[in-house]
C-alpha cells in the first residue's frame, strides 16, 4: 500500500463507520441522493456535503498553512469579514438583482480577504512572528472589523438577488456550493501538485533549515500560502452568507477555525508541518459534517455536538502524540517496536564496520 493510501485509510474507515451508523438509524435514504421537485439534488448526505462547503474551503487553505509549520487562527474572523463586505455592498447598491452589483461585491470581498491573508503571511515571514501569535491579532479584532463594515446590523440580501444562488442554487442538478468546492479542491490540487509549490511547501514545513540551505525562497512561499488561506476563508464567507442571505458578524463562521484545524488533523496532515493531504482534509471535513448529523440521527440532543467534537479532538491529539503511543504500546513493546524501528540497512551498515 502506498504511504499516501495508508494515511487516507483511517479517515475513510471512520467516515464509512459513521455513514453505516446513520444508515442503520435512518435507513438507506441517508446516503442515496434524491432529486427534489425543483430539479435539485437533495437527500441527507448531499445536504451534509452542501453545508460542509464553507468548512471545506477553509480547511483546504488551513492544510497548506499547516504544511509550512504554521497555523491561521484568523479564518473565522476573515469569513465574517468576507460575508459582511459582500452583503453590505449588495445592500447598499440601488439594484440588488443586477449581476454587476453581485460580481463587484464578490470581487471586493475576495480581494480584501486575500489582502488580509497576505498580511498574516507578511507578519509570519517578514517579521518573524510565530504564526499562532500573528494570526491571533485578527482572530480578536477581525469580528470587530466585520461589525464595523455592517454598522452593527445584520445586512440582509433580498432573496431575488443572484447572490443567493451562490449558496442555494444548483447547476446541472448539483448544488452550486458543491461545484465551487470541487473546483477549489481541483484548483488547489493543481496549484500544489502540478507546480512545485506543494513539494516546496512540504520541504519548508518539514525542515526549514535544510530548505534554506537548498536555496528555497521560503518567505514568498509562506506569504502566498497565507494569502490563499485568507482567500479561501473569504470565499467560504461568501457561500455561507449567500446561503443565509445575510451576514452575521458575530456568529458567522464562529469556531470554524477550530473545526478546520480538526479536519486537517483528522485528514492525516501533522500539525508539525511537512506532508499534507488535501484529499484527507476533504474526508476530515465530511466526517465532521456527518458527525453532526449522526448525533441527531442516533437520538442524542444537538448539544452533544460539542462534546462529541471534544472527544474527537482528544483522541486525535493523543493518537498523534508519540509519547502517548509509546505509553500505550509499552506492554506490547517487543513486537510492534521491531516493525517501526529504523530500517534494516542502517543496522547492516553498522555491523560492517
Amino acid at each position: 500500500m502506498s504511504p499516501y493510501a495508508k494515511r487516507l485509510m483511517w479517515p475513510v474507515v471512520i467516515l464509512l463507520a459513521l455513514v453505516a451508523v446513520n444508515i442503520a438509524a435512518t435507513g438507506v435514504d441517508f446516503i442515496v441522493p434524491s432529486v427534489n421537485d425543483d430539479g435539485r439534488l437533495g437527500g441527507a448526505f448531499v445536504n451534509i456535503l452542501r453545508r460542509s462547503v464553507p468548512l471545506l474551503l477553509i480547511a483546504l487553505g488551513m492544510t497548506l498553512v499547516i504544511a509550512t509549520k504554521g497555523i491561521d487562527l484568523s479564518v473565522g474572523a476573515v469569513y465574517a469579514i468576507g460575508a459582511a463586505i459582500a452583503c453590505q455592498t449588495i445592500m447598499d447598491s440601488s439594484d440588488q438583482g443586477a449581476a454587476g452589483t453581485v460580481l463587484t461585491a464578490i470581487a471586493l470581498a475576495l480581494v480584501v480577504t486575500a489582502v488580509i491573508g497576505a498580511w498574516n503571511g507578511v507578519m509570519v515571514a517578514a517579521f518573524g512572528i510565530q504564526p499562532i501569535v500573528a494570526t491571533l491579532i485578527l482572530m480578536i479584532a477581525g469580528r470587530g472589523i466585520a461589525q464595523l463594515i455592517t454598522g452593527g446590523q445584520i445586512p440582509k440580501v433580498e432573496d431575488t438577488s443572484p447572490f443567493t444562488e451562490l449558496g442555494r442554487g444548483a447547476f446541472l442538478t448539483i448544488p452550486i456550493p458543491i461545484w465551487i468546492a470541487a473546483l477549489a479542491l481541483t484548483a488547489l490540487a493543481l496549484l500544489t501538485r502540478r507546480t512545485a509549490l506543494g513539494m516546496l511547501l512540504e520541504s519548508v514545513g518539514g525542515n526549514p533549515e535544510a530548505s534554506r540551505l537548498a536555496g528555497i525562497r521560503s518567505k514568498g512561499i509562506t506569504v502566498l500560502v497565507y494569502l490563499v488561506c485568507g482567500l479561501c476563508a473569504g470565499l467560504a464567507g461568501l457561500i455561507g452568507a449567500s446561503n443565509l442571505g445575510s451576514a452575521d458578524a458575530n456568529n458567522g463562521g464562529l469556531w470554524i477555525e477550530l473545526d478546520a484545524i480538526l479536519a486537517v488533523v483528522i485528514g492525516g496532515t501533522a500539525l508539525l508541518g511537512g506532508r499534507f493531504f488535501l484529499l484527507g482534509t476533504t474526508i476530515g471535513v465530511v466526517i465532521i459534517g456527518t458527525l453532526e448529523d449522526t448525533i441527531i440521527n442516533v437520538g442524542l440532543s444537538s448539544q452533544w455536538q460539542f462534546t462529541a467534537k471534544a472527544i474527537v479532538v482528544f483522541v486525535v491529539a493523543l493518537l498523534q502524540s508519540p509519547g502517548f503511543r509509546a505509553w500505550i504500546l509499552k506492554p506490547f513493546k517487543r513486537t510492534p517496536q521491531a516493525r517501526v524501528e529504523a530500517p534494516a540497512p542502517a543496522k547492516a551498515e553498522e555491523a560492517a564496520k
Partner: protein, 341 residues
C-alpha cells in the same frame, strides 16, 4: 597560585533586563492614563470615582481568568478552555444549588475543585504526552461548552438561592455624592486573587519555576527543576481561576447563561499580552495583566459614555494594541539579540 577575579558590568540588552523590561508595561500604564484623561476631558461625570470602581465590578471575572492565563502564558503555554470552563462553572453552580439542592457553599467547593482537577488533567496530558497546549485546551473549549448546553440550553436563575446575594454586598468608601465609591465583595475576591498570584509568582519556588520553564524548558530540566510539577501546576491554577471566575459571574448575575463568555479566552489573552507579558513565555508581570484588563474595561467604558459607538470598537482597538505590543516585543527582542552577539 593567585586567585584572579573577573568582573563584568551588566549591559542593558534584552527584553528581560532593567529598564527595557518595563517598556511594555510603561506603555500600557501611559495608555491607561491617556484613556482616562481623555474620558475626563470629554464626558461629564467621567471623573466620578465610581467609574474606576465599576471597572473592577464588571471585569472581576475577566481579571481572575486573566491572572490564571498569565501563569500559563508565562510558562510558555496557552489555555483556550477558560471561557467554556467559566460558563460551565456558573452553570454547575446553578444546577447544583437549584436542581440538585446542594448547599451553596458545598457547591462552590465542588465547582472550584472540579476546575482545578480539570487543569491538572489537561496539564498532565500536555506534559507527559507532549500534546500542544493549543490542541489540548481546545478539548476543554468544546467539551465544557457542550456539557454546559447539556445541563441547560436556557438561562437558569439563582435568584432564589440566598447565598448568591453575598457577592454583590458592597462596601462603601465615602458617600457617593461626595465623591465616594463602592465595591462589592466579589471585587475584593478578584483583588485577593491578584495579590496571591503576585506573591506566588515572585516569592515562591513554584512562581520562579514558572518563569524558568517559560524562559527555557530544556534548561529548567537540566537544572534539575521540577518541570512536570510546574507545567501541570500552571494549568491547575488556570483551571481554578476559570472556575472561580464562573463563581464570581454567578454572584454578579445570579443566573447562568449557557452561551456566556464565548471568546472570553481571547479577551484574557489580549489583556495578558497588552499587560506586557511575552506570548512566548518567560517575561511579564501579573500587575501588568491588571493594567491590561483595565485598558479593556476603560475602552468599554469610553464607548458606553460616547453612547453611539458600537461596542465592537473595543475589540478592534484591542487588536490594534495587540499588534503594536507584539511588534514592540519583537523589536526589543531583536535589538537585544543583536547587541549580545
Amino acid at each position: 597560585m593567585t586567585v584572579q577575579t573577573l568582573t563584568e558590568r551588566p549591559s542593558r540588552s534584552t527584553l528581560f533586563d532593567g529598564l527595557t523590561r518595563y517598556i511594555p508595561i510603561g506603555a500600557t500604564v501611559a495608555l491607561l492614563a491617556a484613556l482616562y484623561l481623555g474620558g475626563v476631558a470629554n464626558y461629564p461625570n467621567f471623573d466620578n470615582p465610581q467609574v474606576v470602581a465599576k471597572l473592577f465590578i464588571d471585569n472581576a471575572p475577566l481579571l481572575v481568568i486573566a491572572v490564571g492565563m498569565t501563569f500559563v502564558i508565562l510558562s510558555g503555554g496557552i489555555d483556550l478552555s477558560v471561557g467554556s470552563v467559566m460558563a460551565f462553572s456558573t452553570m454547575a453552580c446553578a444546577w447544583l444549588t437549584v436542581e440538585a439542592g446542594i448547599g451553596a457553599p458545598l457547591a462552590l467547593v465542588l465547582v472550584l475543585a472540579f476546575g482545578t482537577a480539570w487543569g491538572l488533567l489537561i496539564g498532565a496530558v500536555i506534559h507527559y504526552f507532549d500534546v500542544q497546549p493549543f490542541i489540548a485546551t481546545l478539548v476543554g473549549l468544546f467539551l465544557f461548552r457542550g456539557l454546559t448546553l447539556q445541563i441547560s440550553d436556557t438561562d437558569v436563575s439563582m435568584r432564589e438561592v440566598e447565598f448568591f446575594q453575598w457577592g454583590m454586598t458592597h462596601v462603601d468608601f465615602g458617600e457617593i455624592r461626595d465623591g465616594g465609591f463602592w465595591l462589592p465583595y466579589l471585587s475584593f475576591v478578584a483583588f485577593a486573587v491578584v495579590v496571591i498570584a503576585f506573591v506566588v509568582l515572585h516569592y515562591t519556588r513554584f512562581g520562579r519555576g514558572v518563569y524558568a520553564v517559560g524562559g527555557s524548558e530544556s534548561s529548567a530540566l537540566l537544572m534539575g527543576l521540577p518541570v512536570a510539577r510546574t507545567k501541570i501546576g500552571v494549568y491547575a491554577v488556570s483551571g481554578f481561576c476559570a472556575a472561580l471566575a464562573g463563581v464570581l459571574a454567578a454572584f454578579a448575575t445570579k443566573s447562568a447563561n449557557p452561551l456566556a463568555n464565548v471568546g472570553a479566552e481571547l479577551d484574557a489573552i489580549a489583556a495578558v499580552v497588552i499587560g506586557g507579558t511575552l506570548l512566548t513565555g518567560g517575561a511579564g508581570f501579573v500587575l501588568g495583566t491588571v493594567a491590561g484588563v483595565m485598558v479593556w474595561g476603560m475602552l468599554n467604558t469610553l464607548i458606553a459614555f460616547q453612547g453611539n459607538l458600537s461596542s465592537w470598537w473595543a475589540r478592534i482597538v484591542m487588536g490594534v494594541l495587540l499588534l503594536a505590543f507584539i511588534l514592540l516585543q519583537r523589536v526589543l527582542a531583536r535589538s537585544g539579540e543583536k547587541r549580545r552577539t
